[in-house]
Amino acid sequence: MTYTILEREELAPEIYLLKLHAPEVASKSKPGQFIIIRIDENGERIPLTIADYNRDAGIITVVFMEIGKTTKQLAVLKSGDSLSDLVGPLGNPAHVPKNSVVVFVGGGVGITTVFPEAREFKKAGNTIISIIGARSENLLIWEDLVHSVSDKLYITTDDGTKGHHGFVTDVLTNILKEQGVDLVVAIGPVVMMRAVADVTKPFGVKTIVSLNPVMVDGTGMCGSCRVVVGGETRFTCVDGPEFDAHQVDFTLLMKRLTTYRDEEAVSLGKFMHEQDCDEKC
């Protein structure tokens, strides 16, 4: 079984979209779930959130940012190349509420996870307000798609090149002051999710975040992805990935994410050197 890349697109600098041929996985995927991929025999297993799926065409869409060795290697693959392994759908689907006003907050690549959830929530009859943010306009992705499934869309950039000059939390605070909100769903960098949790807590608005710790198998076997939620240890891969933001120990999550920082640097250095060599030699 191989998993072919049907389409590759650079959405923004260092942010890529891949459409992968995986009919069985596509047929079962739901918003909020993820897959684990391995590029080749020597590869590591990395989780990627399912950004979209097309059951008829048998396609899974993922979007990722180049960060470490594996994502850089993934970024240089082309349409027609294939991945050695793809497993999913993993994790629990997002719980879809009814008759609710829901604010989605998406940051960076997290915007692409917001999209299928907002679409599903909208379909179920909820009112969708979306806030999407990026460092700068050129890094803002999927604005049109998110817009298409939102009743109202707000944009923020850290440098003010588009929309509100500032953070997603500024806009969120204003919304919470002005109107009733039943649920906030925040997906993006850990610092953003933590900031959102801090903003919504005084308002007493239920808030959900999607966590991204280090994983290996993704089926509950190793416990690498353990997080503390409400004082209890949970496995993100099988108990999550979505949790109550007000219960999550974000400090622990951030510290655990640094576990392999040194090794990641070694691995990336080796890869960049080999890439360099490939070009020159």
Binding site: E24, K28, V87, V216
Partner: protein
């Protein structure tokens, strides 16, 4: 009559702690023949009674004694699909060898070593594929690809049923691949035995998570029967402060990174692992020994096994404990961790422990360990591995209708491996909790017979219903 068996040639401990190559090197033809000739060929062999997969032990040994090595392997394979694996990891000393008549006056015959010898001989010469009868119309799904599943699959394929193994990971073999290290069970051996099972006609679908991609109920619409051999993959933790510090691993994670993902070859393989200088391993089963010996090979300066009971109560095979000792693993017995302390960056720094003494027997019949007040002490550590056991994964029970489970997601069965759900059978660690490779294979054998009977009853039901019309 020789009272002793030939010594097993082994890699020198000084040398082997720097590599992941196999420790036990296997008997030569000469050694195997000498040892096989010690077998008394008892008229009423007691050894067979101790074998969960019912190998005709005297028969395969006789073939070795007569230097019919390939015939010996064929004899083994009639009963046991995975002889090269069992010859390496079975606890023969408490199963078949303990029954051996020779053991009364000297050393029992080295059944495990001879099994390994014959199996390796065949692997080297090229494996014979037995003739498969014409295929039946029945299809069986086997969930997981560990020892129970491989045995069920092989036995059913040999009687002509179509078998599909569904494995969640990217490689088949279950615990044989992700759990048991290369130096004890080379992955090449596992691949060769899995390959044999494929050649029997078994289809293996990798990256297939039952409970996610298909539920058991859905499988029952595509297959006539389902066997659950998904093992005990959920790691247990101690439940003490500090277990979420960086550098604290479940044994499952530590071994999966090393064995399945080849982290010992990082950065040639992408998966990293923390190479601790001071490693503490909690627990004293085979998994704990494996983790401790992996940590040494990753370059640890010292590795300490911490166990709350005593030497007698350690559950690992004596041979594995001896190997660990020979390699320089420290044992702190009657010692229990109470807190894991970390530094300001959330990294493990020390494991605080307390001395224990053995009190009255508990419900398991083993002496209950009790802390001795005032004996707290700290063991420096930058990596800690928790190897205190595993339980079945909840994924399958939670997604299957009408499947009875008992505590900790154990799936109970009757003596024929039948679960509470019609057409669904189970065996191995998912039924027993974490146990041995061979007990899982024994269950696989029983399940294969029960599944075959069940499929035949379906045929009977179909025939009678046709007659009714």
């Amino acid at each position: 009559m020789l009272v002793k068996r030939p010594e097993m040639p082994e890699q020198d401990p000084e040398k082997r702690i720097h590599n992941f190559d196999e420790v036990a090197l296997g008997y030569t033809e000469e050694q195997a023949t000498i040892e096989a000739n010690r077998c008394l060929q008892c008229k009423k062999p007691q050894c067979i009674k101790g074998c969960p997969v019912e190998i005709e032990i005297p028969a395969f040994i006789k073939n070795i004694a007569e230097r019919n090595f390939e015939a010996s392997a064929s004899e083994l394979k009639r009963a046991n699909t995975l002889p090269a694996i069992c010859g390496r990891v079975c606890p023969q000393e408490t199963q078949c060898e303990i029954e051996c008549t020779l053991g009364k006056k000297g050393e029992p015959i080295a059944i495990g070593r001879l099994e390994r010898f014959a199996a390796d001989y065949e692997l080297e010469k090229g494996v014979q594929i037995p003739e498969i009868p014409e295929s039946t119309v029945y299809r069986v799904a086997v969930v997981g690809s560990g020892p129970a599943s491989l045995t069920v699959a092989a036995d059913l394929a040999r009687i002509g049923h179509s078998v599909t193994i569904l494995e969640a990971l990217h490689e088949a073999g279950g615990v044989l691949i992700y759990g048991i290290p290369e130096f004890r069970l080379p992955k090449e051996i596992v691949r060769a035995e899995v390959d044999f099972i494929k050649k029997l006609g078994v289809e293996i679908k990798l990256n297939f998570v039952v409970g996610k991609l298909r539920s058991v109920d859905e499988l029952l619409t595509e297959y006539d029967a389902v066997f659950l051999g998904s093992g005990a993959g959920l790691p247990s933790f101690l439940g003490i402060e500090g277990e979420n510090l960086n550098g604290v691993y479940s044994a499952n994670e530590f071994l999966t990174r090393v064995n399945l993902m080849k982290a010992y070859q990082f950065p040639d393989y992408d998966t990293p692992i923390k190479k601790g200088k001071h490693v503490v391993v909690v627990g004293a089963g085979n998994v704990a020994m494996d983790a401790a010996r992996c940590a040494l090979r990753l370059g640890a300066e010292n590795v300490t096994i911490v166990y709350r009971r005593g030497e007698e109560e350690m559950t690992a095979r004596i041979e594995e404990i001896q190997h660990a000792k020979d390699e320089g693993v420290h044992f702190k017995l009657l010692t229990n961790p109470t807190i894991i302390h970390g530094d300001e960056n959330n990294w493990v720094k020390t494991v605080k422990c307390i001395k224990m003494r053995l009190g009255e027997p508990d419900e398991s019949g083993r002496a209950r360990p009790e802390p001795i007040p005032g004996t707290e002490h700290e063991i420096p550590a930058d990596v800690a591995v928790i190897a205190i056991g595993t339980t079945p994964n909840p994924l399958i029970p939670s997604t299957t209708s009408d499947l009875q489970t008992i505590k900790r997601n154990i799936i109970p069965t009757d003596a024929e491996c039948r679960t509470s759900k019609k057409g669904v059978f189970a065996g191995g660690d998912v039924v027993t909790g974490s146990a041995t490779v061979i007990s899982a294979m024994g269950a696989g054998k029983i399940a294969a017979r029960a599944i075959d009977q069940y499929l035949q009853s379906l045929r009977f039901a179909e025939t009678t219903s046709t007659l009714d019309c």
